[in-house]
């Protein structure tokens, strides 16, 4: 590391000393990391004070990491989409839709589960492409377009399920899941028994981390990642530089829908059932995670790693409240406060350390 010389006058910028703290805080994920540590400490202290150390036990940690992984699976793509300057409010309804397709193809039509999962992934991703095409072709704000498709997809799920089955909760035979090769990718869990109680590391956690890692790699190290930031920062400039703006956006809408289908597959295999209500309201939770993770609503700036931290913070708060024996009604208040704190913190960090506005 370069050091400043004792001579008078400011050193050239390239030789400026940057402390480790400053360099860490300059990363967009810094605020989210602070939030995670803060939430962890608060609930660890609260639950210890109430005489339970379960929050800090392996079982406790696996418990809230499992919860974080669920919305976390869709949050990466939602964050990338936000960095590219777009929203997807339909992602929650896509989760429900995707699960219902798995249920219908496997249970109602009696086809193999692997086929059901693949069919649901193709259909769901197709709807994501449609979202993207409508946005780029019409030039309408994605907030409005996906608000509309949220209703349409939700309605489509009800029409489908009520026309074909009469019930909205489709049971999937656990024996068939256990015997299906592709289902293993979504139903697998690592269980260990401690003191008579089983703790499970669900495969959804691995999917969450894997997707976040791929997302972070693409955003930070690949040309496509640069395009995403460029498209969100200034679409006109990006277009003038030859970035295929429309393609980038459609790809991201498709990726968001695809991640919704991965989440739906995890849910329907883990709980051997499909329920039309699953995923309802998760679009806003995913956006909350992305914002805690440092993503700007205006696009052009944000972090996938920060979003993963955001997911972890919300999962911890969601379940930590039970460990701390606090009335669960406080969870929503906690989310709101965390969100506000995170935004203020992220803003401050961005101005103070990252030199951006």
């Amino acid at each position: 590391m370069a050091t400043t010389t004792a001579s008078a006058g400011p050193a050239p910028e390239r030789l400026r000393t940057v402390s480790l703290t400053q360099r860490l805080l300059a990363r967009p994920a810094a605020g989210a990391l602070v939030i995670v540590v803060f939430v962890f400490i608060v609930f660890a202290v609260l639950s210890e004070a109430r005489g339970s150390s379960a929050f800090l036990s392996i079982a406790g940690i696996l418990n809230y990491v499992g919860v974080a992984s669920q919305v976390g699976i869709i949050a990466t793509a939602v964050a990338l989409l936000m960095i590219a300057g777009e929203f997807d409010l339909s992602v929650g309804s896509l989760v429900g839709f995707s699960g219902i397709v798995i249920g219908i193809v496997s249970t109602v039509w009696g086809l193999p589960i692997w086929l059901a999962i693949i069919a649901s992934m193709i259909l769901t991703t197709g709807l994501g492409v449609l979202n993207g095409l409508i946005v780029v072709r019409t030039g309408l704000p994605s907030f409005i377009v996906t608000l509309a498709t949220m209703f349409i997809i939700g309605g489509l799920s009800s029409v489908l399920v009520l026309t074909l089955t009469n019930i909205t909760f489709i049971r999937i035979d656990p024996d068939l899941i256990a015997a299906d090769p592709l289902a293993q990718l979504f139903s697998w869990k690592f269980s260990f028994v401690f003191d008579g109680a089983t703790s499970d590391l669900y495969v959804s956690v691995i999917w969450w981390i894997l997707i976040a890692a791929v997302g972070a790699y693409i955003l930070g190290r690949r040309k496509f990642g640069n395009w995403i930031t460029g498209v969100g920062g200034s679409p006109t400039a990006a277009r003038n530089l030859g970035v295929p703006v429309a393609r980038v956006k459609v790809t991201l809408f498709a990726a968001t829908a695809f991640s919704a289908s991965i989440l739906a597959a995890c849910q329907s295999m883990q709980f051997s059932s499909a329920d039309i209500q699953r995923g309802g309201g998760w679009e806003l939770q995913a956006i909350t995670m992305a914002v805690i993770g440092g993503c700007l609503l205006s696009g052009g700036y944000g972090s996938v790693v920060g979003t993963a931290f955001g997911a972890l913070a919300l999962g911890m708060a969601n379940i930590g409240i039970v460990y701390a024996s606090i009335n669960a009604d406080w969870y929503k208040i906690a989310i709101g406060l965390l969100l506000l704190t995170a935004v203020v913190l992220n803003n401050w960090i961005r101005r103070r350390f990252a030199g951006l506005r």
Binding site: S47, L162, S273
Partner: protein, 335 residues
């Protein structure tokens, strides 16, 4: 896409939508008694409930409504607000139904304060009204002819008494819809049945049906935090599965019961993994009001139920002994 193709696609889409929309269920020519005051083909009944058909429970109610419409040969129109808790919306739907001057009106009354004005207007307009599912404590006062449903507090109490008999000492109630009075009554009845003097002091867990993993983690966390928990009551079948997973992972003997049925719940009961399910036979809550209103319109015959007009469809208890019989029916949305 050229314009003609697009138009064709839209026309196709509209046809599909029309086919699937809430078309009035019309009868298959069933004929009422000779000398009836009205012909069955002229009977039009409006149903307004707080339950969207996408909800597993209400899907069965709606199947009951459809079956009755077809059996009776009358026209029935079913409506529900987009959000279960949207009482102003539901009130407006009742007003709209009354404006059509139907032969009869069926309503659920999840929130009497919010819905009383609309229902009173219907009664004042001379429309025969039958309530169902919720509202057993207020229907008489509002001038409603009959109520078909179960009393929530007593149903919860029955569950609590069964748990007490099984030796449960510290039970929790999982409420997936905080704010719904009927569900609060179930939990209160449950804790009363367990012998708590102040039921509001009972431990209630909450969660959302949209997040099964969250519900499971919440229950796991509660069991880890308080190892003396030995009983869990869930208020709907969608919660039962995550609760079962959490109980099994805990490795403890924890009694588990739920309100309402699903194929999943029934299988678990049959296999001895759950104690029982409280069955309010909601199919009848959809079916009977249509039959009652049809008969009332034709002949002014009206069942009196328990003497006050209350016709109970529950609570029934499905246990290991009778679970196998209803599994197939539940999978078809008839139980």
């Amino acid at each position: 896409m050229d314009k003609r193709k697009f138009a064709g696609l839209m026309a196709g889409a509209i046809l599909v939508l029309a086919a699937c929309s809430s078309t009035p269920s019309a009868g298959t020519g069933a004929k009422g008694p000779d000398g009836a005051l009205v012909k069955r083909a002229d009977i039009k009944i409006e149903v307004v409930t707080h339950g969207q058909a996408i909800d597993g429970f209400w899907g069965v109610v709606r199947n009951g409504v459809k079956a009755a419409a077809s059996d009776m040969g009358v026209t029935v129109n079913y409506n529900a607000p987009a959000q279960e808790s949207d009482m102003p919306g539901m009130s407006a739907l009742i007003d709209a139904a009354v404006a059509k001057h139907p032969t009869g009106l069926v309503v659920s009354i999840p929130n009497p304060d919010a819905l009383s004005p609309a229902i009173t207007k219907a009664v004042a307009a001379g429309i025969p009204v039958v309530s169902m599912n919720s509202g057993s404590d207020v229907f008489k006062k509002l001038g409603i002819l009959a109520h078909v449903g179960q009393t929530e507090f007593q149903a919860g109490q029955g569950a609590g008494e069964r748990f007490l008999a099984a030796g449960v000492k510290n039970a929790v109630c999982f409420n997936q819809e905080v704010g719904n009075q009927a569900l609060t009554l179930r939990c209160n009845g449950f804790f009363t049945g367990l012998g708590l003097t102040d039921p509001s002091k009972g431990k209630v867990l909450t969660g959302k049906i949209s997040d099964p993993a969250g519900m499971q983690a919440t229950i796991s966390a509660a069991i880890q935090t308080d190892p003396t928990i030995d009983g869990i009551l869930t208020l709907g079948p969608s919660v039962a599965k995550p609760a079962l997973a959490a109980v099994q992972a805990s490795g403890k003997t924890i009694h588990l019961a739920t309100f309402d049925l699903s194929a999943d719940v029934l299988t678990a009961i049959k296999d001895g993994k759950m104690d029982f399910a409280i069955d309010q036979q909601q199919f009848l809550q959809g079916y009977l009001p249509i039959v009652i209103l049809t008969n009332y319109a034709e002949t002014r015959n009206l069942p009196t139920g328990d003497g006050t007009g209350l016709i109970m469809t529950g609570p029934g208890f499905v246990t290991k002994d009778n679970a196998a019989d209803v599994i197939a029916l539940s999978a078809k949305g008839l139980r």
